[in-house]
Symmetry: C2
Subunit: 169 residues, 2 copies
């Protein structure tokens, strides 16, 4: 194997191992990495071969990646098999990940908190007030995080980055 292929393989493998820390399974992370560094679109069979995974596994994770918007199906004239290519624009990738995390992390948390806050409103004891206050403080924060992710992910990169850097100066 040539050096280039070795580096790619190394990247794909290690990125897959990182996946679990990011809340995605190994295969999904590896497929994403593979497509990110592939100059051309790949078929399910290409991916099965390259990563040594089953057809079912490849299929499931390809569909999941498509549903996230991290990869897309493309049609190649004269070919029957589906081909997949990754979104390579890093800002778009960032926006997609931010949106997904909001959906999976902060929104459910806010839902749980809101529900409990609602119920705690009625409690008049000092301890009840304290609970209400603590949950509300948490929820305000989670909502703020929600709003920030929402807004950031919907902006153009060029409009935002200079401002962020200035803010942190």
């Amino acid at each position: 194997m040539n050096e280039l292929a070795e580096i790619k393989e190394d990247f794909v493998t290690q990125w897959g191992a990182l996946g679990s820390q990011w809340g995605v399974n190994r295969t999904m992370a590896m497929i994403h990495a593979l497509l990110l560094v592939s100059p051309k679109a790949l078929t399910t069979d290409d991916i099965m071969l390259e990563l040594s995974v089953s057809r079912g596994n490849a299929n499931t994770n390809l569909r999941e990646l498509v549903s996230w918007g991290l990869i897309r199906q493309i049609v190649i004239k004269g070919e029957r098999k589906d081909h997949y290519e990754a979104e390579k624009d890093t800002w778009k990738i960032f926006c997609i990940v931010a949106r997904e995390r909001k959906r999976r992390e902060t929104e459910p948390a806010s839902k749980v908190l809101s529900h409990c806050i609602d119920r705690s409103k009625k409690i008049k004891s000092a301890e009840g007030k304290e609970l209400h206050q603590q949950l509300t403080a948490l929820n305000d924060f989670v909502d703020l995080a929600n709003t920030i992710m929402e807004k950031v992910a919907s902006k153009e990169q060029s409009a935002l980055l200079p401002k962020v850097l200035k803010l942190l100066a």
Copy 2:
């Protein structure tokens, strides 16, 4: 069980279920939630009883929470057992979570990318250049996220929030 206790129990249970989405195991999330809404510090036995978990499980997760800085051990005069209480300041909680995510997510990613970028520098082919460029773009982004988390988490809440809100207006 009175209404207040019910609400707390509900919160603890549901927060625990959310934990997995945040990359924390259920018990750790539940212990954290329990201490967050507990007006007084609790012992390992209190927690075992309240959450129906084993001593080993409680002990391990309490230690993990302490190591994150989300809870602390406190000594109560005349008592032999360790007592634990949660950090309740939401901004501090946010900073801790941000720091930990940086450590577990963006730093390892950056490490993998840097290493591959280093190796890809040598490759002279067009495809090699393309790989190098793609990995670099990814790494720039991950590093930026790193820097932002770092800076945000080290600032006072009062200094930062107004600016963030203005930025997103």
